[in-house]
């Protein structure tokens, strides 16, 4: 058993999840079963292997550039206001669960 109920409570806290007590047992079981399977990665010696975070780390993405610039993310000019205008306020607020018409509103942030 790699993961205990205490670990699950701690990780749920990091992830801002409030796992109910009856969900925790199942989560402990599932995470242990998956991590046991994942452990087979340790069969491989990777001491001389670099990590790969992105496909673009390794492959050309920009035909218009040559040499080393050809690799990595394509870039664009820094333009004022970005590539599109900001949404009008009423549109930005339309999906808000709660708003006062100007701002998103949320429950109290700090208890006093």
């Amino acid at each position: 058993m790699k993961v205990t109920e205490k670990d699950v409570i701690y990780v749920a806290d990091l992830a801002n999840l409030e796992l109910a007590a009856n969900e925790r047992g199942r989560m402990v079981r599932d995470l242990n079963s998956i991590l046991d399977y994942i452990d087979r990665l340790n069969e491989l010696d990777t001491s001389n292997v670099g990590p790969m975070a992105q496909v673009a780390d390794r492959y050309a993405v920009d035909d218009s550039k040559g040499g080393g610039d050809r690799f990595g993310y394509a870039s664009r000019d820094d333009v004022l206001e970005g590539l599109r205008k900001s949404l009008p306020r009423e549109e930005a607020l339309r999906n808000a669960p709660e708003s006062d018409g100007t701002f998103f509103t949320v429950p109290k942030v700090i208890e006093r």
């Binding site: 999840l17 399977y37 452990d39 292997v49 990590p51 599109r84 808000a96 109290k108």
Partner: protein, 479 residues
């Protein structure tokens, strides 16, 4: 409805020649959806107003005798993880049950600019996390070939809609196999393009280094036409590649004689259903009979792909899904007294079990003390998996494998065993990790009449070759 209108060319030419209006064609698809979708469950939302608007535009072009764009009047469906302005977009989650996006996904906008009529949004596993579509927060999807079975996932609704003739083509997304595996289960064509080939702007992010958008279609040619319409650099997605887009519909007509196709023993090992093996081996023979040279290749790290994937994908998901906090859009838990309490209860009530499981696994893998052991380790093995493909593609032009180790399984069969479900993607996750393109095409049926899928993998940005092989196979089998 004229049941022969199930390909892009059939739909476009019927509208262009005035045999049917784009509006009437859309209406006939809506009739079919109304009659047949209650048994399938492929759609979550219909976008009739938007469909009529595009159809009118196409009908006006046709009436004026002007040429129609490549998908003029073609009825299409969109997986509900791509945002659509003014049309509810849920990602299959209670979290976004009432979300109406203020902008369009680039791939959807490009399809529509090419004349496609967007019928509606298709069901999927919640946030595209699943291999059976049973993780939808709304309802499962039933496989049109056998409604007691799953359509695959996560693009199950898109695959089922195309298979049942409720859309000519559909868009799906693929992070670990979510286009190809449901295509294989439903007996349609599913193409995952190279990483960066198609913009992901407006795709609700699951795992950003693995997410792809691509087509599901009834023919290889239709998949090629759709790819041509949606591919290419998009300034709104910095990971979209500035690599020129060939004319795929023309490329697929080129001969396949002399192409080298690799067969890797690692994709024919334990767990492969015997009927699937037979069908795929027969397909390899068919390609050989068309003049392709069959070359044995080795992809030695294949067995490590699933564990690598479930660390990389969940780590990225745990970060991407942090945005769902009940503040700006989506679900919010009621009556929370404090902000922190609201966050937690919102996420607890809004996310389903599989999504929580993956957020937990990803958060664990990234947490202090475990980062090196899990996340960094997985990234290194990802390098090894990618090198396997580099090595193989120095010898062959494409690699042929089964798409999935089994045909479609029964609803409920794997629902309580997350690991068994993850293994359904064993032959598809490798391409997502390496960023190479892959296509699944139908290659026969089991004795129980369940579709079997053949997967063809290609080099980065070489969709043309895998489409060409797929087209040659499709044509040879039909002959």
């Amino acid at each position: 409805m004229d049941s022969s209108i199930l390909t892009i060319e059939a739909a476009r030419s019927a509208v262009a020649q005035g045999k049917i209006t784009a509006q009437a064609l859309a209406a006939s698809f809506y009739d079919k959806i109304q009659k047949e979708d209650p048994q399938i469950g492929a759609f979550l939302t219909l976008s009739k107003e938007r469909a009529i608007e595009t159809a009118c535009r196409i009908d006006k072009l046709a009436a004026d005798g002007k040429p129609l764009p490549p998908l003029g009047g073609v009825p299409v469906a969109i997986k509900d993880v791509m945002v659509t302005r003014g049309v509810r977009t849920t990602a299959g989650s209670k979290m976004l049950e009432n979300y109406v996006p203020p902008y369009d996904c680039t791939a959807v906008a490009r399809l529509e600019q090419a004349g496609a009529v967007v019928l509606g949004k298709t069901n999927c596993d919640e946030f595209a996390m699943g291999s059976s579509n049973e993780n939808s927060a709304f309802h499962p999807v039933h496989n049109p070939s056998d409604t007691s079975r799953v359509p695959g996932g996560s693009s199950g609704g898109s695959a089922a809609a195309v298979a049942a003739g409720m859309a000519v083509i559909a868009l799906g997304s693929d992070t670990g196999g979510s286009i190809r595996q449901p295509a294989s289960f439903c007996g349609v064509v599913g193409l995952m393009p190279t990483y960066g080939r198609v913009s992901r702007y407006g795709l609700i992010a699951f795992a950003s280094s693995l997410d792809h958008i691509g087509p599901l279609a009834r023919t290889v040619k239709d998949a090629a036409i759709v790819l041509g319409a949606i591919a290419g650099r998009d300034p709104m997605d910095s990971t979209s590649a500035n690599v020129s887009v060939p004319d795929y519909a023309a490329e697929i007509e080129k001969p396949v004689r002399g192409l080298k196709i690799g067969v890797a023993k690692e994709y024919f090992g334990e767990g492969l259903d015997s009927e699937v093996r037979k069908a795929v081996e027969a397909a390899v023979q068919k390609l050989a009979s068309l003049g392709c040279e069959v070359v044995p290749v080795s992809l030695p790290h294949t067995a490590y792909a699933i564990p690598t994937y479930y660390i990389v994908a969940t780590a990225e998901a745990s970060s991407n899904l942090a945005r769902f906090d009940g503040v700006r859009y989506g679900y919010r838990a009621r009556n929370a007294s404090m902000l922190s309490d609201m966050y937690r209860r919102t996420r607890d009530e809004g996310f389903g079990a599989e999504v929580k499981r993956r957020i937990m696994l990803g958060t664990y893998a990234l947490s202090a003390g475990y980062y090196d052991a899990y996340y960094l380790k997985a990234q290194k093995v990802r390098t090894l998996l990618t090198r396997d493909f580099d090595e193989a593609f120095s010898k062959v032009d494409a690699i042929v494998t089964p798409t999935s180790p089994t045909p479609a399984f029964k609803l409920g069969e794997k629902a309580n065993d997350p690991l068994a479900m993850y293994l359904a993607d064993i032959y598809t996750v490798t391409a997502d990790l390496a960023g190479i393109p892959g296509i699944s095409i139908p290659c026969g049926e089991t004795r129980e009449k369940l579709p079997i899928g053949l997967q063809i993998l290609g080099r980065h940005f070489d969709e043309a070759t895998i489409l060409r092989l797929a087209q040659a196979y499709e044509r040879a089998v039909a002959a």
